[in-house]
Symmetry: C2
Subunit: 341 residues, 2 copies
């Protein structure tokens, strides 16, 4: 297996990308190909580790590329014109089967445009979407769409539900994943027009498409562990995702502060450290890696824009599993069978 990593994308590129790849290399069986400026990557490795890349692992590789897509670049224009950017080169490797999965923490819009334009949609799916895994009580929650489709139609949300269901069955072994529709109340009359229409469509098609649709779900019940996936448009999904992140930061900050108020609380922290760390771990969305771009013909993983070395490491490990599980092949197969029905 070959994991293609965009070495130039993300807020902390290329340092964090390179360190993440080096940290991950002994935890995966796959080769990891760093796509980016070869001379920079080589000299960084020498600087960080005091040796040549080949001395670290023979499974670490480089694919040279001379350009970089910046955060300010207009997505479609960048994909069409920056032919030698790390992102376009990475996508083309994936397309030509010179790699099995592509990971990038770069410009999200460009990544989505590239995935659709260069890799292509699975037949039967109108809009691919970003599926992110969030921590939930003793389990996890798949959020579809995390932010790639700002404007959606009911048919898109139905397909997000289908993709979630297929993905969770095949990758997590959940037999009948509970799929909810994110709403502001549980009654079917609640919400805006998109949500009300999507509710009707989901209810109508659930049985036929083998979706265990559990109805409307409010944010307050999302993390209970009883829901396996939540479907929503990309705007609402992204607000949901980032609110979760904001609260997480707030809790962490307040927790640290409440334990450093005075000498007594500092002493209690020394004793309570372990349980608190186990809490932080349970809540750490980073441990779940990047978001999967579901609905395209090959595995594409969007790493968090602010990924550090640890998060790149997690995302590389996750990407290997994503390929091993044949999640994309099974998605293609499922939509293919559906068309024949």
């Amino acid at each position: 297996m070959k994991i293609i990593l965009d070495a130039m994308g993300g807020d902390n590129a290329p340092d964090a990308n390179i360190k993440g790849a080096v940290n991950a290399i002994n935890k995966v069986k796959a080769e990891v190909v760093l796509v980016g400026k070869e001379d920079i990557i080589r000299s960084k490795i020498k600087e960080f580790y005091g040796k040549e890349m080949e001395e670290i692992s023979e499974r670490l590789k480089i694919q040279n590329s001379t350009e970089t897509i910046e955060m300010e670049d207009q997505p479609t224009v960048a994909i069409k014109h920056k032919k030698d950017s790390s992102m376009v080169v990475g996508f083309n490797m994936l397309k030509k089967d010179e790699g099995d999965v592509f990971i990038s923490a770069g410009n999200s819009g460009a990544l989505l445009a590239g995935a659709t334009l260069l890799v292509g949609r699975i037949k039967g799916i109108d809009r691919p979407a970003l599926g992110g895994i969030l921590p939930a009580y003793k389990s996890q929650l798949l959020l579809m769409d995390c932010g790639s489709n700002t404007n959606c139609k009911p048919i898109n949300l139905l397909q997000f539900a289908q993709m979630s269901s297929i993905y969770l069955k095949n990758t997590y072994g959940i037999e009948h994943p509970a799929i909810g529709l994110l709403n502001i109340g549980t009654e079917e009359t609640k919400g805006n027009e998109l949500v009300r229409e999507s509710y009707k469509l989901l209810k109508e098609k659930a049985e036929q498409l083998d979706i265990n649709f559990v109805g409307n779900v409010e944010g307050r019940d999302a993390f209970s562990g009883k829901i396996d996936a939540i479907v929503t448009d990309g705007f609402t999904g992204n607000v949901f995702l980032k609110t979760t992140e904001g609260i997480g930061k707030f809790v962490k900050r307040s927790l640290v502060e409440s334990f450093t108020q005075n000498l007594f609380s500092k002493i209690s922290y020394l004793i309570a450290k372990k349980p608190i760390k186990s809490l932080s771990k349970a809540m750490d969305y980073k441990a779940y890696g990047g978001a999967l771009f579901l609905g395209v013909k090959k595995p594409v993983v969007k790493a968090h824009g602010s990924s550090d070395a640890l998060l790149f490491e997690y995302t590389i490990i996750q990407a290997e599993k994503f390929v091993e599980n044949k999640a994309v092949e099974k998605m293609i197969e499922a939509f293919n069978n559906q068309k024949k029905d």
Copy 2:
């Protein structure tokens, strides 16, 4: 001052409403008028406290009403036809100056319909909105709209920003409250059409309307303590609010569990109890009481539907402050002056 409390509204009515009023009565200077079935309220008080209401406090009163608006009732229909419901009776008291503020934990739609139809909008405000106060790092965050307007136009969001600004200045003494627009990125090209158009309008009008508009704000930065208010449509706002609540529940559950895993963690909990409680307190949105329905001519407070006695107590105390601060009078004045400009 007279605080009118709908004794029959909410998931735990009338028990929690009655207990909350009794608990609050010695913490406020105002009279508290319980609106509902007099015989039931009197017998409940006797059951809970073993004495007559008058023996508890002479500032506790009852206004009899024979009907109740249920959660399933169609809002406008209920307000128009259930003339002797606790909610309609309460609103009419407020309208006729027989009370200074009305609190209800009942059917949200009916409460909003009643506030608009029976109390009336402030001139210059197209859509009143629910402003909820959430905890933030060492401060608080006003969220407008928390859920009363599912579909909004840019002009509504502009007015939410104006109302937030006026309210925070007058009630919290914040000189230049920082008002942000909830979005999925900070760049002005981000978001759906409503948000992009609202951004333009806010930027154009901010100076003239004395709004300290700080631009787009993502959920991840909302709780930093640097933003005083976030404006958004009621659908997105309600998702934001309930996601916050969901994470809060998840954190609490995980925290308790991480401290009860084994004997050692149980012992650490005994020692770490105090800082953990101080964290829980900092994060407890309940301590901030109900949501204020801003934009109507009289003070209306929407208590949380699942309010318990403690939350009713907080909400009554908050309502007294709301009246003391003359928040509504100042809002009317500000919009009146603006029209003359």
